[in-house]
Symmetry: C2
Subunit: 405 residues, 2 copies
């Protein structure tokens, strides 16, 4: 018998009927003799509605008060689930962030977890209660309500699992696990039985749709096995675990793509100290997040520098660079929105040679030009023309032996 | 400059536009140099919606979890008001029941206030903040969310006013004050400038529409002047104050009526100890509230006993009495739904003689038969046939000199 944390997202609790389904699922887990802690999000759409209400009364809503408002979403679903469980005679009790003593810093809207006391959770579990906890919310040291940012319920779930030393943290979602590639563009994509924390952390685009990246960092730090599974089926999903926990180690475990990038190139930038700072300070001041940065050395004391930004921020970033061109000394500034980043990811990469060359030659075989390359210990990413996205994902998926039979 | 508590009910905060009106009003009070604490209800209709949601997932909703759900209503309006105030650059901060440390007993759904620490309120006021507090909610000694029952926001407001020693507690509502009679049936009814706590306490039906009776008890105990006024106009309303605070002392200050009663008569009940208990125990066990009880002595060791109950409970009460007739020895049990209770109320009654005889003779002049009479120190109530309600209110209003010029 285990101590299990089960987290249900907004679509799983979107209406009373679905909440009753969640209650059945939770009740079954409890009936099997397990101790159960449930973490809930707000009903799908409610958080956006609340933000709309806030904007109706305040042009740029105060972040402390916005958190007070947003926290009502999870409070509602928790109360409803506990009500339904109690009506079925389960000993259930809902707890809000401050009651769990999920302590955070003062950064309203995007608070970081400092500590979780969880005394009440442990005491309720000792009395064989089902504990229903509002995700996404905490409280700062002054007793103010804080929220953890978008998708923060995943982080709540993993952090609470760590605090109470749960055996597993189950994340129920509307997909049934993590795939070797996006099944929408690669019909040979397979569901993975296991994946490592580090692989998840490198799967930004593909993974983030399923599990908030921040929560994976927590899971890795505290070695909490995370089970990503469907709230609409009983099937096993994908276990996110430590890479040393006996999982199969393929060189590459998944192929991901990201359409949401655009690149900006500065041509013939003087190759001297301080230039990079001049280029990226205005970008950072504008709150634009830079993903890849590539600098090629050129002859004659000059260099070309290319970086990528989210597509939404492309025009702003391009104009900023044109404005500071006099400062940076760039001869020409140009950009391209029609790009895609294709990545192959796998912890096995550390032990397998030839992954990069396989990737490059596979793309070359299809006449796909590689514009940029960046690598991490367990990931190789190439920027290519956007129109080749699907083709690139499919041929790489086959080349690395990921196709299902 | 004063310390003012302002309480706004559900219709005053029913939508973002009205919340912005409330913010203007609060801001004006603050701009005049006053310290302001605001107590809010949930948006009109929201509490009923939440109860509906609870009933969709639980046939008889658990009271602890229902309170968690209901508390979201006031949390929402408080956050929105604080957001709007902050967007106008007022230093505002919302606080929930547990943050105010409004401590209650464990009686979920109808909790009694034990203590209000309000340290945070005082500290925020010292820093010239506008403090926006969720009405209706508190927290028990174990940190559970509790609610104070229907209309509990009035009680929150007066209790918090007492805790922080406010100069006045303003209750903003959709009527502009307390009237000498219901203006809908008596067009000569006048708005009262002042009324005493005791008169309000005796005005159950007329007063309760405006101000929760429980809050009046609090106001009386802690001598908090309560100003009942309209949220839609700037006009002064009615001050509810201590009777010794120099207010005008008419013999009668108001005439009230209550349609919502029905009477049950037990004929020829044995006049012996223990009978009353046999009659009223089953009524109490059924949760029915008895208002008036009249017992006439009759010759021959028998008596007639009549009592009134809310109309909604009439059939149940009647059946109960028929069932226990063997026990109580009543010869006959019959009832009447078509009655009304007319009351004249006034602290001046203590010093003025002849109020009762004026009442009886005024009704007699119109050939209105009096079925039952009950009195308190400052109130005389008569039960009459329902069809005479409006007539009785009007002639009594004139007879006691309450008509406006």
């Amino acid at each position: 018998m285990s101590l299990i944390v089960q987290k249900f997202g907004g679509t799983s609790v979107a209406d009373p009927e679905r909440i009753m389904n969640v209650a059945k699922r939770v009740g079954n887990t409890y009936d099997q003799g397990n101790d159960v802690v449930v973490i809930l999000s707000a009903m799908a759409g409610v958080t956006d509605n609340l933000i709309g209400m806030a904007q109706a009364v305040a042009e740029s809503p105060d972040s402390r008060e916005l958190d007070v408002l947003l926290a009502t979403g999870e409070q509602t679903t928790c109360a409803l689930l506990a009500l339904n469980l109690k009506s079925m005679n389960y000993p259930a009790q809902s707890l809000m962030g401050h009651q769990v003593e999920l302590m955070t810093d003062h950064c309203f809207g995007n608070a970081r977890i400092l500590d979780i006391k969880a005394d009440r959770v442990r005491e309720l579990l000792d009395r064989r209660h089902i504990v229903v906890i509002a995700g996404f919310q905490g409280c700062d040291l002054d007793g103010n309500i804080t929220t953890l940012g978008r998708g923060g319920s995943d982080t709540s779930a993993v952090a609470i699992a760590a605090a109470i030393k749960a055996d597993v943290c189950e994340i129920f979602t509307d997909v049934d696990g993590i795939y070797t590639a996006d099944p929408n563009i690669c019909d040979k994509a397979r569901k993975l039985d296991t994946i490592s924390y580090d692989e998840m952390l490198n799967m930004a685009s593909l993974g983030a749709k399923v599990l908030q990246i921040r929560s994976v960092g927590f899971a890795k730090k505290y070695k909490i096995p995370v089970h990503v599974r469907s709230s609409f089926s009983e099937e096993e999903g994908t276990m996110v675990v430590d890479e040393n926990s006996g999982m199969e180690r393929l060189a590459v475990s998944s192929v991901t793509h990201d359409h949401n990038q655009a690149r900006i190139t500065l041509k013939k930038v003087p190759d001297q100290p301080g230039i990079a700072a001049k280029i990226f300070s205005p970008i950072a001041d504008a709150g634009i997040v830079v993903d890849m940065i590539i600098q090629n050395t050129r002859a004659g004391g000059e260099t070309d520098l290319t970086f990528t930004v989210p597509k939404n921020d492309f025009q702003r970033a391009l104009e900023l660079q044109k404005k500071v061109a006099a400062d940076t000394g760039a001869e020409e500034v140009f950009g391209d929105e029609k790009i895609a980043k294709i990545s192959v990811i796998g912890v096995g990469m550390k032990d397998h040679s030839g992954v990069a060359s396989t990737m490059f030659s596979t793309l070359a075989c299809e006449n796909i030009n590689i514009m940029m390359i960046s690598t991490s210990e367990i990931r190789i990413s190439c920027v290519i023309e956007e129109k080749y996205t699907e083709l690139a994902v499919r041929v790489l998926h086959t080349a690395f032996g990921l196709d299902k039979e």
